[in-house]
């Protein structure tokens, strides 16, 4: 679905992310793991076609079903972004317009992307149901919902727009652990139900191990290692991957008493 070849993202001539090769197929989730400055979010921005707005220069190729994305104009992006490739952010409430209700927001988004009024109502209901939100939430403003509800709402929106590709940038990092577990479930559901392809960006290898089918580890703008999640986690080949895995805090299984 998404293919990246020799992608370089540079600011003032300095390359901050270099991805030689990355392939994401429908119905799969690829985790991109790394620490601050690893280039993982820069890669996400490039796939969303937003690097230019951030002042970056992008070279190489990103294709969506064979269609080159890096050369698309702003106008062309309007029919891709949101409709075919959508994004879920870390702070869902900050990403929602605070002055309108969630219902208004939902209807406007669907209309903007060409969904008819009649169709939009049905889609809204189904999408909310999928993320286990009650339709009452549509009457509320973003500040009246919890972080977990806002994130599930964002996922419902993406689902209603029938986006083929979802870029999720640290979507669970700001959430409480039980809420995080729920959001992970909802994202997995989205993949299984609609065959959505997902780039899941996170610094948390434990979350990635739960959710992602494959994983790409980045550091200082370079890809360190990539492969099927279980393989990379069980038999990491690179020193840095091992370091990263060793640093993930774990809970003792046994009771010392």
């Amino acid at each position: 679905m998404i293919s990246i070849r020799d992608l370089r993202i540079a600011y003032d001539g300095r390359v901050v992310a270099h991805v030689p090769e990355l392939d994401l197929s429908a119905g799969t989730i690829m985790g991109i793991a790394g620490e601050s400055g690893s280039g993982k979010s820069q890669t996400a921005l490039a796939v969303m076609g937003l690097s230019g707005y951030a002042g970056a220069h992008v070279s190489g190729s990103i294709t969506l079903d064979g269609q080159e994305l890096t050369t698309k104009s702003r106008r062309e992006w309007q029919t891709i972004r949101g409709r075919r490739i959508a994004m879920i952010m870390q702070s869902p409430r900050a990403a929602l317009n605070p002055t309108v209700t969630l219902g208004t927001l939902f209807r406007r988004s669907l209309r903007l992307h060409g969904v008819s009024r009649a169709d939009s109502k049905a889609r809204m209901r189904t999408a909310l149901d999928e993320v286990v939100l009650s339709p009452d939430i549509l009457d509320r403003y973003p500040h009246q919902v919890s972080g977990g509800q806002a994130q599930r709402f964002a996922i419902a929106l993406v689902s209603a727009l029938r986006a083929d590709v979802v870029i999720a940038d640290e979507p669970t990092s700001a959430l409480d652990v039980t809420v995080q577990a729920e959001v992970i479930e909802v994202l997995r559901d989205l993949r299984d139900r609609h065959g959505t392809a997902m780039l899941f960006i996170s610094h948390d290898l434990a979350v990635i191990s739960e959710l992602a089918d494959s994983v790409t580890i980045m550091r200082h703008g370079e890809v360190v290692e990539s492969g099927p999640t279980a393989l990379v986690m069980q038999t990491p080949r690179q020193v840095y991957t091992r370091e990263l895995l060793a640093a993930v805090p774990t809970i003792r299984r046994g009771d010392p008493q």
Partner: protein
Amino acid sequence: MNALLSVRDLRLSYDSTQVVHGVDFEVPQGPYGVGLIGESGSGKTTIARALLLLHPIHRGSVAFEGADVSRLRGSDLKAYRRAVQLVFQDGDGSLDPRMSVGANVGEPLVVHRSVPRAVRRDRVAELLAEVGLPEDMIDRYPHQLSGGQRQRVVIARALALEPKLLILDEPTSALDVTVQERVLKLFERLRIERGLAFVLISHNLAVVDRLCESSVVLYRGSVVERGPTASLLSRPRHPYTRALRAAVPEIGVVRPPLTRIGSGTPPDQADNACPYAARCPLAVDRCRTETPALREVDGREVACHRAEDTIEIEPFTTHHDDRKHG
């Protein structure tokens, strides 16, 4: 009285809304760690603020070395403020950006006049060395440092007044994992070298497990389970502790789906109900009409009518799919 800090029936409110409902726990002399575990709205940060006398104590008491802290005045109060120091999540927000690292770390020494001016810079350099920062950091500014370095500066400043108790409010949540690991190692070393006691506030069970011998699990301002950290995490007895434990993602551990372990704001319920009843998969009628008191079960204290029943259930397989559609 050999506890360093003793919290009894602590009740805290914002305006007329009570948010902490009678919390008890003790912190022994260090080296020792007590974890306050809970999610948003559990009251853990408000408790920390009350311990630092930054939030009025509505009812109940906090005693430090046997003395009620709300009655401390003059030099006793100053001594308490020196003995209890805070480190919080955001190293960025807790340092003055206009002051050098040296001035930030040395400020408590100035305020409390604890070290003569002539040796202040040496003392600051010693503190920086203790937290693993090079001496030349002393003249840099916070914005020139990485997140991990800033957090070390905050820790150095907290140590400046030779505290006995550190209150750590999510001290590593904003850090990358490899940096977090190094900061956790630093806390482990400081704990032993300085004989420090910690009250660690965190939703990260693995971090609590590293630094705390005992833990208190809070749900909406009430203690639901309290006891040795290792038993709480390996054999959680309260359904909420189990939900928390089961929600922690772990590498290589495949869990059954756990949709609906409960989130958001549960509906209002009767005052005499168990605070967790609305979310609890094990709730029975009694849970909705009678608030469970803490009682001893299996080497810890649990506030649950059904604490005995939870042992039958493996914590990783209990969250069967009970999602409701529509």
